[in-house]
């Protein structure tokens, strides 16, 4: 998905805010942010981090410094090299959609970080940790670990279906597209009541504090 096409599609689907969360990498966030800025679409930078147990966790960060620091931790703990024939090329592009590099790391792989370590890393950098697609039969905390372990202190759980039974009381539930293709953008979304489209505001809405909340 090229930055400009992605941004155009998000606007066409009526989204005000998107989070860019590539697998184990944040190298394309800046380009999408710049492309989005030009047309008034808000972007939160993040990553979908794969824990050692192959649980996917969305890390959403407030700024490029903490995002970059998170990427460093992930890269330090991510073994393996990509095989483009097997997994496709991992391109880095600029906001004009020009390819400026390739990522040779095995981004589809798992880090050596446990789920707890992933969440602590995200929180240590002031980010939001949301368990990805918890009701999916693969790569979700429920598929890999059976249930959400006590004391994990997630900021939210992303679900695909309308409701997911058995989630801890009080855990914020969000829906998002997990779009891997342009056609999937906007397929699922969450409506928030917030003062502005930022990670800080989303964090407050997930906690339901100071008047910010999830609407639907």
């Amino acid at each position: 998905m090229s930055p400009s096409a992605l941004v155009r599609q998000a606007l066409a689907r009526g989204l005000d805010l998107i989070a860019i969360c590539d697998h184990n990498s944040a190298e394309n966030v800046a380009a999408v942010s710049r492309a989005a800025q030009r047309v008034g679409l808000a972007v939160i930078g993040g990553m979908e981090i794969t824990s050692r147990e192959e649980v996917h966790v969305l890390g959403l960060f407030h700024d490029e410094n903490t995002l970059s620091a998170a990427q460093d931790v992930v890269y330090d703990n991510l073994p393996g090299e990509n095989d483009p024939d097997a997994f496709g090329e991992q391109l880095v592009t600029d906001e004009q959609d020009k390819v400026i590099g390739q990522n040779h790391r095995l981004l589809i792989g798992a880090t050596g970080l446990t789920l707890g370590e992933v969440v602590r890393t995200v929180h240590g950098l002031g980010g939001l940790a949301i368990a990805s697609h918890v009701d999916r039969p693969r790569f979700s905390v429920l598929s890999q670990l059976g249930f959400i372990p006590d004391g994990l202190s997630l900021d939210g759980a992303e679900v695909c279906s309308e409701s997911v039974p058995g989630l801890p009381e009080g855990l914020a539930v969000v829906r998002s597209s997990d779009a891997h293709r342009l056609s999937e953008i906007g397929a699922r979304r969450t409506r928030f009541l917030v003062e502005g489209p930022t990670a800080l505001e989303i964090g407050m809405a997930l906690r339901g504090i100071e008047g910010r909340r999830i609407v639907a």
Partner: protein, 115 residues
Amino acid sequence: MNLSEIVEKLQLQVRAGESALANQVRGGYASDLMSDVIAHGRKGDLWVTLQTHQNTVAVAGLKALAGVVLVNGREPEADTLQRAKDENVPLLVSSLPAFELIGRLYSLGLSGIRT
């Protein structure tokens, strides 16, 4: 057969649940997905896995499994070990890879199918 016989014959290292080694082992189950073991594990199964997360112990307790063997020489995480001790769940370690360990368990007479 009981778990202590298996421990001895296959030279498994015992990390927790020493007092539960008299547990009868009724069969074997191999999986690295907790949700799968929750669905298909049976009481008295010896669970072979590389999952070191503490939910492993919780699931073993939930399903009344005979014990958990970690393969490839993987050691339990600190909270996994503590939980196994607290709940007296046998937690064993084998230096063998899963395929080999399972083959040897099978040769001892342990089956994956209940008749």
